[in-house]
């Protein structure tokens, strides 16, 4: 349940991340794969060393999708429909991993934003990312 103020806060934060999407995205993925090594199993086909172009381009895709969705959170089900299909039928990433990436996104945002990522922003962002992950997993079964 997101208030109007929270939705604006979330959109504002992700808007700032768009120009640095590759950096932020790569860092989120790197944090996830370092802290939760099991998640590396989904990236056997990519070069996931720090700074690798694969990591940056893949990270960028993820950040841009999250940022795009944040511009109109109430339309999430529509915006994410193609990604739902992709994750359910092609990628088939176990949804428990979404939580791990969401956590690492929060850590990355905290590391970059410092005090600005205050408890209210953190709560709003956690709610948004949880909703995003839940919608992404909707077509799995």
């Amino acid at each position: 349940m997101l208030t109007k103020h929270e939705k604006e806060l979330i959109a504002k934060i992700w808007d700032k991340m768009i120009p640095v999407a590759s950096d932020i995205g790569a860092e989120c993925l790197l944090r996830m794969m370092t802290t939760f090594p099991g998640t590396k199993t989904y990236f056997a086909h990519l070069d996931i060393r720090p700074g690798s172009p694969h990591l940056r381009s893949h990270g960028k895709k993820i950040v841009l999708a999250i940022a795009e969705c944040s511009k109109d959170i109430s339309s999430m089900m529509v915006t994410l429909a193609p990604l739902q299909t992709l994750h359910a039928y092609k990628l088939r990433i176990d949804p428990c991993n979404f939580k791990l990436l969401c956590h690492c996104i929060l850590v990355t945002l905290a590391a970059h934003m410092g005090d600005e990522f205050n408890p209210v922003a953190h709560a709003a962002m956690d709610k948004y990312l949880s909703a995003f992950a839940a919608v992404l997993a909707e077509k799995y079964r």
Binding site: E27, T34, P50, A111, H112, G114, P119, V120, H122, D126
Partner: protein, 147 residues
């Protein structure tokens, strides 16, 4: 027994050496109560928890946050036997405080995020991995005596 590499020990040591307990403790606990409001159920006697501002300015919460953070010192001093180090505290949280052990993870996630906010880029992915491994061992030890 949990195996720790030299790098992991060094990372964890470094993080704790830079920690201001009176700052990080209160921030982590209050953040947990704000981000996961259901955790407030354990703090009925702590006064005004009505909104985020009240929680962040609550002196009882602040004091308790510092206490909880100092609780991690035991693990730091006994990294090779964290399991037994927390046996008594585990019994306390189970029998007396009746805290759902899933909540330990919520607090440890908030602590990680507060430290990331403080350390910025110095909280590297490797530091994060070591720190989260440390916290997960503590969390597991705290849940061990529940039955």
């Amino acid at each position: 027994m949990v195996e720790w590499t030299d790098e992991e020990r060094a990372a964890i040591s470094d993080i704790f050496s830079k920690l201001d307990y009176d700052d990080i403790g209160p921030k982590s606990l209050s953040r947990c109560l704000i981000v996961y409001p259901w955790t407030q159920r354990y703090f009925g006697g702590f006064g005004n928890l009505y909104n985020a501002e009240a929680i962040m300015n609550n002196p009882l919460i602040a004091k308790h946050g510092t206490t909880v953070l100092h609780g991690l010192d035991r693990a730091l001093k006994n990294m090779d036997d964290i399991k037994n180090t927390y046996a008594e505290l585990s019994v306390l949280h189970s029998e007396k405080l009746h805290v759902d052990p899933d909540n330990f993870k919520l607090l440890s996630d908030c602590l990680t995020i507060v430290i990331a906010g403080k350390m910025g880029n110095a909280f590297t992915p490797e530091y994060q991995a070591s720190f989260q491994k440390f916290l997960s061992v503590v969390v597991s030890a705290l849940g061990r005596q529940y039955h």
